[in-house]
């Protein structure tokens, strides 16, 4: 598989980020959690959006309890 033009959803400093292969390869090893790799930017952003929504729901639940 060729990953050069692909996109990653990562978790870094307790935030989700969508970054390109090039940007990811510049990050220090171990400074992020690689969650998923996607062929297109759009797919990666969709997943990013889903994860943020889940995090908001989690936070709401915690505040309510």
């Amino acid at each position: 598989m060729n990953f050069q033009n692909t996109w990653y959803v990562i978790e870094r400093n307790q935030h989700f980020e969508t970054i390109s292969y090039e940007a990811l390869s510049l990050l220090p090893e171990g400074s992020f959690v690689m969650l998923e790799n996607f062929e297109t930017h759009r797919e990666a952003l969709e997943e990013h959006k889903r994860l943020v929504k889940l995090a908001i729901e989690d936070a709401k639940r915690k505040l309510a309890s």
Binding site: M1, N2, F3, T6, Y8, P28, E29, G30, S31, F32, V33, M34, L35, E36, N37, F38, E39, R50, L51, L54
Partner: protein, 313 residues
Amino acid sequence: MPNNLSATNFHGVWPDVLVPLQEDLSIDQAKLCAHLRNLCAKGIEHFVLFGHAGEGPSFSADEKLSTVTHVIASGVEAKNILLGVHSSSFTEIAQFIRKAYEKGVRRFLISAPLYGQPFSHVALFDYFDQLIKQVNLSDWQLFTHQLGGLNHSTDLPEVALTDLRKSHPLIFVGMVDQDIHVNHTVDLMRSFGTEIVIASAHEPNLSILKPTACVSALANVTPNIVQHLMANQAVKNATQIPGMKIAKPDDRVVELMAILDNYPFIAALKLMLSLHYRADAWERVRPPQSTLTKEGRQALMGAFKTFNLQAHE
């Protein structure tokens, strides 16, 4: 056609890939391809599809073939697939192999036939001999799946394996040993280790056995740990504090196995993967695999939190 495949190409970590399911318990092929893609991005190149952790016996030949087609279309090279085959009919297995062969798959993982009675070594040899003759192709590879005490299948005894190797040296090239007892794998390595590949499937044994290949269910969730374990390296840690003890890969494997020990193995691993992907759908298993109880799920989630899977693992 001559057999251009080499058993020596079978090396490194081969994850026994967990299979995601949709709500109707059919295979979620898109999610599976995404999982393989993510493992590839973490340095994994080879995959066992429909092995033990991949709930292989639960899926029909058509489901497997359709999934293999999707996986290959998604960019996984057919030569990097070891495909689990499950049936006690050698004609059915031969048909399946020929169909998968047409798609480019060349490596097949096959266990002994399942019956309610033990078989003689001659009968088991005949079964595999007939199977190979029915397939009637020369450039494919058979890996026997030694299940140990996992179910009521009969493991192939050494004498049957020796006969099989003598009769089909280009086809029968390896074994995957699912037995958790290290001595079981050591015995196989002593008997066949220089001739064929013996891949252990029990990660806590890897640091002792130092095999050239392993089939690993844990590699679904901790691919780097298993890769480092195979390479006999420490995991690189981003934050190293002087005096702080850094867990070695085998420590982490033992720790994880201790957590998983009291739960249905496949369901527990799928829960861990569902937490990693934040996708509850990953938790589904296909009957007869056991699901986790509500209490078990809660306890496991707590244990995984304590395990604290790190970015580099």
